[in-house]
């Protein structure tokens, strides 16, 4: 009876909402989930497919299921152009009614991170942000599921060493990285691993201004002859690096990028020459996944997608955007069920994101089999440390080229603890979740 009444009231509210006026309606019967998008600016080429994916998944849920448990999600974009300044502006603009902040750039994440304890809005930064955010006791409001940059770095090392890191002894591993907080993220982990397993680690920074012209860096690579070149590249830097690698005839099978360096658009510019280039990824594009069929049916075919070329539906970044929105939607769903309410607020969503259970069954239910590895979060672990796969460029698209890889959870956990405490120390007084006993 009670639920019946609730549904009736909700229906009435919905009807009333549409009758009165559109802007007034969103206060009661939808959940407002803004996204700090970057469809403009120097990184727009990578931003557009990601944003399209995020948007289309939410639209599909709204069309197919009428939202999540009957509540529509109001997906809204605030354009930042990847600029930190605009990002903070967007955060301030949306925070009064938002249940989540999706900051998108490491710069914006770093800026917003300290404010979340005050404003009590969870940050959702899937696969980016600050790796120590995994420590949920320190970073109570920040989430970076399903894998952090340190997970990515560790998976790469496991891949090149075939699972036995000690075989790397005496080898030389170069890290070609953007000279920016994002590019410097994996360095502490690589340094720790190099000390432990006796390989030589060589960071090679690429300045923001030299992204497209990396001849100096590749000259250094030619001179040093590293056994592997790992890349933390972004935007124009990826295409620049791959072009230089082709030019200097660096063996492509020893060249592996992080998941943001595996963008179809970057590789298309080199085409066949980039064959064999690899990228680690926590997401895999699956063309015939049921969820993709639904997105095609409910969003793309009626012409509601912002995607310009329908072929992009199978690109790595578009499908990754879909998974990112899926993580958010699962967080909302979990919170709704736990708190027995339709309209979750930011604090309830925090619980939802902290108790994500994305196991194989759930992935199958969502129609995403093979697109993402199972993971779960807890109050102590805000990342989930899911596995990933190596994707290989075959000249026209990325295809999975390895079994599922996992990261060295123990080595990462130690480092996360140290760096998280360092952060808390530098920003004291910093609240720590004492209730969490995990």
């Amino acid at each position: 009876m009670k639920t019946y009444l609730k549904t009736a009231m909700l229906g009435a509210a919905l009807g009333l909402g549409t009758m009165v006026a559109m802007p007034a309606a969103n206060a009661e019967d939808t959940i407002y989930a803004p996204n700090l998008s970057y469809r403009t600016g120097p990184f727009a080429a990578t931003g557009i497919p990601l944003m399209n994916g995020q948007r289309d998944y939410i639209m599909m849920l709204n069309e197919r299921d009428g939202g999540i448990n009957g509540v529509k999600i109001e997906y809204d974009e605030c354009e930042t152009g990847y600029s930190t300044e605009k990002g903070v502006e967007c955060y301030e603009k949306t925070k009064s009614k938002a249940v989540v902040t999706q900051p998108w750039s490491t710069g914006i994440t770093l800026q917003v991170l300290p404010k979340t304890n005050v404003d009590k809005i969870p940050i959702l930064a899937p696969g980016y942000g600050f790796s120590p955010m995994a420590n949920g006791k320190v970073f109570q409001w920040a989430f970076n599921p399903p894998a952090s940059y340190w997970d990515g770095a560790s998976m790469m090392l496991n891949y090149v060493s075939d699972g036995d890191l000690d075989t790397l002894k005496g080898k030389k591993i170069a890290l070609l990285h953007l000279d920016h907080p994002f590019g410097k993220e994996p360095i502490p982990l690589f340094e720790a691993m190099a000390d432990k397993h006796g390989f030589e680690f060589l960071p090679i920074p690429v300045g923001l201004k030299e992204m497209q012209n990396q001849s100096a860096q590749w000259l250094q690579i030619r001179r040093e002859k590293p056994d592997y070149v790992l890349m933390w590249g972004w935007g124009a830097m990826n295409a620049g690096a791959i072009t230089e690698a082709v030019k200097t005839r660096y063996p492509m099978d020893q060249f592996i990028g992080i998941w943001w360096s595996g963008h179809d658009g970057d590789l298309k510019t080199v085409g066949d020459k980039g064959k064999g280039y690899k990228s680690i990824s926590w997401s895999v594009p699956v063309a015939d996944a049921p969820v993709m069929a639904d997105i095609k049916k409910y969003v793309v075919d009626p012409g509601n997608s912002l995607m310009e070329d329908p072929a992009d539906i199978n690109s790595v970044f578009y499908q990754r955007g879909i998974l990112i929105s899926m993580i958010l939607a699962e967080g909302i769903r979990g919170a709704q069920e736990h708190f027995d309410t339709k309209n979750v607020n930011a604090e309830q969503l925090r619980w939802g994101l902290e108790n994500l259970k994305i196991d194989d069954d759930r992935i199958a239910e969502l129609g995403m089999t093979g697109m993402i590895a199972p993971f779960s979060t807890s109050c102590a672990d805000h990342t989930g440390h899911a596995g990933g796969w190596i994707l290989e460029w075959d000249g026209s698209k990325f295809a999975p080229a390895s079994d599922k890889l996992t990261a060295d959870a123990d080595a990462i956990a130690v480092l996360e603890e140290v760096k998280a405490m360092e952060y808390a120390e530098a920003n004291k007084p910093w609240p720590i979740n004492e209730e969490c006993n995990m």
Binding site: V88, E89, H180, I187
Partner: protein, 358 residues
């Protein structure tokens, strides 16, 4: 009518040299100060503080610093962003080395570091002029940003290479850090900006300001009438960089909360230069008007469609915004090449004559 100056006689030199020679100017200034000190802070919400009020003040201060160098002393500089960075990093080192230090003192001191760096890079101005000097300051820009990236001591060996503002209390009130309230931060910034503006007005009106203007208009003539060019130019670099350095410290500590080196890269220098040029070179008021146009207007244009209930795609709004601001900048520079400050001067003159123009 509203701006009638007849009947306001000056009977001594003192009143003839007063800051406000016309009573209405003083009244207008009073109204502006009332808005800035009382009405805005008590009516603004978090968004208005963080996206409009505080950034406009900080950018105005940076443009004021540049305007002293470029507008008053005639030395074109493209290194403003880097000098702001020097102020910010100096302030960061000061508050992390001496955590008990009062933030106001730390910001005041950090300006001196910027001034010293500014003077060092100002030395070539004695030999080179105009565009060539701009290139020399450009060198400062590139070198300093490179230094912020490579010198790990500057950011306390932080893994991300960025500086994070710690929580700072002053007399028991939280002024910086994530938990500081925007209200307090606004007053802090407003206080510093007010003091700096009074200082700038007086220095440009006085003996030093006059030597700067002489150097700007014709340096050989200035030298012939006995102005020491070396001294005059270096003072301009020092004062300008001091103000720019203070604005950089405010920029990071009272507004951004965190900063990475490339924040201080050339786009920031250009932004400040545009504010100074569009506002009006050689004026104090212009910096504020320029900052409102360049910093606040895009923010307002961004939220406008939503406020009137129009549903426009966020990316489209952003593109429209860039086009409108660009068109406005060009329009202003065509209609009034001397900037917005000159606009105001014309309006004021018209008001004085109104309703009986000759």
């Amino acid at each position: 009518m509203f701006y009638r100056i007849s009947g306001q006689f000056k009977t001594d030199y003192r009143s003839d040299h007063a800051l406000f020679r016309v009573r209405q100017d003083a009244v207008l200034m009073g109204i502006i100060l009332l808005f800035a000190w009382v009405i805005f802070p008590f009516t603004a919400n978090e968004f208005v503080f963080q996206a409009l009020l505080i950034p406009v003040l900080i950018y105005s201060l940076a443009a004021l610093g540049l305007n002293i160098l470029t507008g008053y002393a005639g030395q074109l500089s493209l290194g403003t962003g880097a000098f702001m960075g020097v102020g910010a990093y100096a302030c960061y080192k000061l508050v992390t080395i001496f955590p008990e230090m009062n933030l106001l003192v730390a910001i005041g001191l950090s300006g001196f570091f910027a001034a010293a760096v500014g003077v060092a890079f100002g030395l070539p101005s004695l030999r080179i002029k105009g565009f060539y000097l701009a290139i020399a300051t450009l060198a400062a820009q590139f070198f300093l940003v490179w230094l912020f990236e490579k010198w790990a001591w500057l950011y306390n060996y932080n893994a991300s290479g960025a500086i994070q503002v710690p929580t700072i209390d002053m007399f028991g009130i939280r002024v910086a850090g994530p938990t500081a309230s925007s209200f307090v931060q606004y007053y802090f910034v407003l206080f510093v900006v007010t003091i700096m503006t009074i200082f700038a007005i007086n220095i440009t009106r006085g003996h030093i300001g006059r030597t700067w203007k002489a150097v700007r208009d014709m340096d050989i003539a200035a030298e012939l009438v006995g102005i020491n060019l070396l001294r005059s130019k270096l003072i301009a670099f020092a004062v300008s960089s001091y103000i720019v350095g203070v604005s950089g410290a405010l920029f990071v500590f009272l507004w951004r909360g965190a900063a990475e080196p490339n924040l201080f890269d050339i786009p920031l220098s250009f932004r400040v230069l545009f504010i100074a040029i569009i506002g009006g070179l050689g004026s104090i008021l212009g910096n504020y008007l320029g900052a409102i146009l360049i910093v606040a207007l895009p923010v307002i244009l961004n939220i406008l469609p939503e406020m009137v209930g129009l549903e426009i795609n966020a990316a489209v709004v952003e593109h429209l915004n860039i086009m409108i601001i660009g068109a406005l900048i060009i329009a202003v520079l065509i209609i009034e090449p001397h900037g917005l400050a000159r606009f105001w001067a014309i309006i004021r003159e018209k008001l004085i004559m109104w309703p009986f123009p000759h």
